[in-house]
Symmetry: C2
Subunit: 370 residues, 2 copies
């Protein structure tokens, strides 16, 4: 059945196993419920109104997104509560005002310049999280720097339009962790940081709301003391990076690429696929021996794809070409003109290159196109 549906594919195509994605969503909702956490999933990975509806049907009513454009898209598809999890862009204050008229909007604040610009220019009420840097070292305020947090809160309090909601942190450093213990350590540190901030600020702000969002912590860990909400995104599809970290089993990865084989080199045990940097993006996993892996080959079965075939992986991507290393004993099974199926290294960046998901039952699901 699947083989028949896929037989019409002539170009690199992003496949979605809806059942796997749906299971991932249900799993994370169960987890949030178990630990009494609000679930505000990040929609930056799937960026699809239809997939968003699956969440809504399961009771989700507030979402996290990565840009104002994405916020606009989902508000246009009926979402009423949206968190833009990115340092607020003071140049886009008109767009923020437009959005704030149409939904309950939460933005991120971590500096006075943007805050003052908002204070001057907001025409509707919005909420804000103060972003805390828990060690990822990308954005956010050091949790020690409470005098600066106080300054920001003071500025905000003199505005009718700016309502302090709480603190947010993205533990992006868990993506570079090599063990569950390391993720545990990062997460525990974060929990302690927020415990301390809550103690300091909850008298004045009794409804203080604390959200975290990285997929590894949300997938693997089971203590969220002092955290109010989680907003992971990548878990909806997962990918090789997450499987490598240990955030998921490989059979939870819900997207795969289908790529035509256009050339075959018996002497090198290689096939060339139509599938390059413009189809996969260029993220890679570096193995211990220095080998770069840009995707791993799976086999299409009756109902879904297999686990990755050992030693079958993309070694190199140019704009349109992918070079795929194949174990010698499997070379005879692959012909020029076949499709080859590949799990992506980073599903967020791969999915970003498509306007559609092609599902294993033949359904075509649209996604946001910037």
């Amino acid at each position: 059945m699947i083989q028949q549906i896929l037989s019409g594919i002539t170009h690199p195509t992003l496949l979605l196993d809806k059942q796997k994605a749906f299971n991932n969503i249900q799993m994370m909702i169960r987890k949030a419920n178990k630990y009494n956490l609000a679930f505000r999933p990040h929609f930056k990975t799937h960026q699809s109104a239809k997939i968003g509806n699956w969440f809504r049907d399961l009771g989700v009513d507030e979402i996290t997104v990565s840009s104002l454009n994405l916020a606009k898209y989902f508000v246009g598809h009926g979402w009423k509560k949206v968190i833009v999890a990115f340092p607020v862009n003071a140049r886009a204050v008109e767009e923020i005002n437009e959005l704030a008229k149409r939904c309950s909007l939460t933005v991120f604040i971590s500096n006075k310049d943007s805050l003052n610009k908002l204070k001057e220019s907001l025409t509707s009420q919005i909420q804000f999280f103060i972003e805390i840097d828990t060690g990822y070292n990308r954005t956010g305020i050091s949790p020690e720097n409470t005098s600066f947090i106080d300054e920001l809160l003071q500025i905000a309090e003199s505005s009718n339009q700016l309502k302090f909601r709480g603190f947010y942190a993205h533990n992006g450093h868990t993506y570079h962790a090599s063990s569950k213990a390391e993720i545990e350590e990062i997460h525990t540190k974060t929990v302690r940081i927020f415990w301390k901030l809550r103690k300091q600020y909850s008298d004045k702000y009794p409804k203080l709301d604390i959200q975290i969002g990285d997929t590894p912590s949300c997938s693997l860990l089971d203590h969220f003391e002092g955290i109010d909400a989680i907003g992971p995104g990548n878990f909806v599809f997962y990918d090789l990076t997450q499987a490598n970290i240990g955030s998921c089993n490989i059979d939870q990865v819900a997207v795969a690429m289908a790529c035509p084989v256009v050339e075959k080199y018996e002497d090198k045990n290689q096939v060339i696929i139509h599938g390059g940097g413009v189809h996969f993006s260029k993220d890679f996993i570096e193995e211990e021996d220095g080998t770069k892996v840009f995707g791993r080959v799976v086999k299409m079965q009756d109902n879904d794809w297999s686990e990755p075939i050992e030693n079958a992986y993309i070694t190199s991507l140019s704009q349109e070409h992918g070079i795929v290393q194949i174990p010698k004993e499997l070379m005879s099974e692959i012909k020029v003109g076949d499709l080859i199926f590949v799990l992506p290294v980073h599903s967020c960046l791969t999915a970003n290159l498509y306007q559609h998901y092609f599902c294993l039952d033949g359904e075509c699901i649209e996604r946001f196109s910037s």
Copy 2:
């Protein structure tokens, strides 16, 4: 004037300096004319009908593209002669037949499976290049393997629809060269390979056509004995990679990103921009000391942008964030809410993420959207 045009930018935006691109095009046309080479520019970089017209207005009548979809787009915009410079995809034979009705189509052949499939299924005449591997080691037939070339030609001769045009090579290994001498060496080897193949095949195929295409060789070198045509692509915009190789001067780079500054860290001499992997792509240049550079900061001047500011570059990209290192003494010149301008590492992959070019005179130029 430029500052006023750019003042409305609120999101990561791909800027095009039309004059620079136009100069690059004229330069390459002059070069082709000087060495009596047919000029069949590769349109994979700009992917824009409008920019294509600039080439047409300068006399170009045949183009090279990287995919059937791109071929369709340009045929739809009036191009009558198109070379698809990618191993022919036997799964897409219906699309090839459709295209062949609408234009003079040339494809690449390097294996019997695809050739036989075409032979069975073609309904219109097409031409083909045999792709030769001159040392890049990605696709193509070894030039030594003339018995295999003969087999392919024999299969093709038994078809009315398949017309052998000649040989093609992409010297992609020049992109990894570190000096002009190294590019010269690769190119000279290629010229010799084709000289030998021409000698062997020109009796039987007196109109034998030999095309090469890499931007470094076409930009830097001045001997093309035995080559009939060039089809470079990247030169229309160039980028940091090409400037690094020495294919162009840095002031020939015709595209830059404009990104809002959303955060500033005095202690780290860093600013955070809205501009991540979904805006730049993830290609990087690795410096000798191991530093990864994902883009270099330039300054906007009255009429164009400056050369890169020393030690001002993107050190890291996540999905939407870019971390930019700024020399300490320049930190005071940059404010949250400013735009920062960045030359991309690989213009083909960066441009692929946009549907428009925003020109320095305010014009908005559309490009192909897959």
